[in-house]
Amino acid sequence: MRRLLLFLCVITVPAAAQPAAGGAKAVPFAPSRLADGHPDFGGIWMAATLSAAFNVEEHEAKYGTPAGPSVIVDPPGGKLPYLPGMRAIAEDNDAHRERDPVGQCHMHGVPRVLFPPFPLEILQDGTYVVILTETEHGVRIIPTDGRPFLPSYSSWNGDSRGHWDGDTLVVEVRGLNGKGWLDQAGNFVGAGATVVERFRLTGKDTLAYEATVTNPKVFSQPVTMRVPLRRRPADVELLEYGCIEGERDAQHLPPVGGSSK
């Protein structure tokens, strides 16, 4: 059946807005909307820079990856507010990057899965928001129907519940197993971490992503990261990425010993 598409956009201009003329304040971006009235995040996205995938803190060039700035906006100073003893674990991870669980074909975890160095796909169908990543054919299914969290769940990609705050999608994540890394440099969020994410379209092809991670066993305060995403060209599709099926490197790596946290 031929698909008939008629999506309507309605801009609600705040009463205080100035008309856009000669350098005055610009009209706020009005996203295209699905039939339920919510903004449409659907499409293929990727982090605007790969910096956070390498290291969420400010970092120099290392191991063939380039230097980059911090994506941490709170606390000020751009550093992860590790409790005493925790940074040493991250540094040990960094010295043993063969322990990176992504290298073992595990899903990236939250928030790392939102800034992989591969494209990801977002789809909304009214009740659910689905986020697919290429690597490890990773999946996050986010219901927005207000159902409760699973009790005592432990998983790589977490148990997520979403709701709308105006045009912002707010997602709470529990049930993370804490085994995942936060980036390639071995930073981590730890078992028991909870995350609150905020997704907001800031332009036709730009998505503001912000994640606040709370874990009183690892960090002295909640830490907030911001990684803008950019839409990929319309002809990009996700390709299947079977990892376990073709994994052949482990035999050449140093034995994976110790814990990564």
Partner: protein
């Protein structure tokens, strides 16, 4: 108030070329440096035994004839299928019997394993191996 209708399948993406180039090589499924040594470059000149077009890495199995009739069996890793496919590689880009030359970096464990940075194809074309080492670009 303004209202407009637009067709969803005519998305105009902002095509940011520098971003695209930066994004293409994509960082590794695992760390290059854990397994390979970028201070041990090697040029491998040999015959393709098998080309495994797969994820997380494709593998080129190569036989290299050494003096006195010795044949070395090498396994050379390239980027993922996805990275290669987007660069124009296909599952039959290399066939058994093809004579190719690969610039690569040796594995740290001393085995006949390497990570490809450039592959020179039988028709003279050069293809980047979409190496995990090139995530810097």
């Amino acid at each position: 108030m303004t209202c407009w209708a637009w067709r969803k399948n005519v998305m105009r993406a902002l095509f940011l070329l520098p971003l695209l180039l930066a994004a293409l090589p994509v960082a590794a499924h695992h760390s290059f440096s854990a397994e390979f040594d970028d201070k041990q470059p090697v040029t491998l000149d040999g015959t393709v035994v098998k080309f495994d077009f797969s994820n997380p890495h494709s593998w080129i199995y190569l036989d290299i004839k050494k003096p006195e009739g010795v044949v070395e069996h090498w396994a050379v890793e390239t980027g993922s299928t996805n990275a290669l496919f987007r660069r124009g590689w296909r599952k039959d880009s290399l066939r058994t019997g093809d004579h190719i030359t690969i610039d690569a970096f040796r594995a740290k464990d001393g085995s006949h394993t390497a990570n490809a940075s450039q592959v020179k194809l039988p028709d003279g074309r050069q293809l980047s191996g979409a190496s995990s080492r090139d995530s810097a670009k």
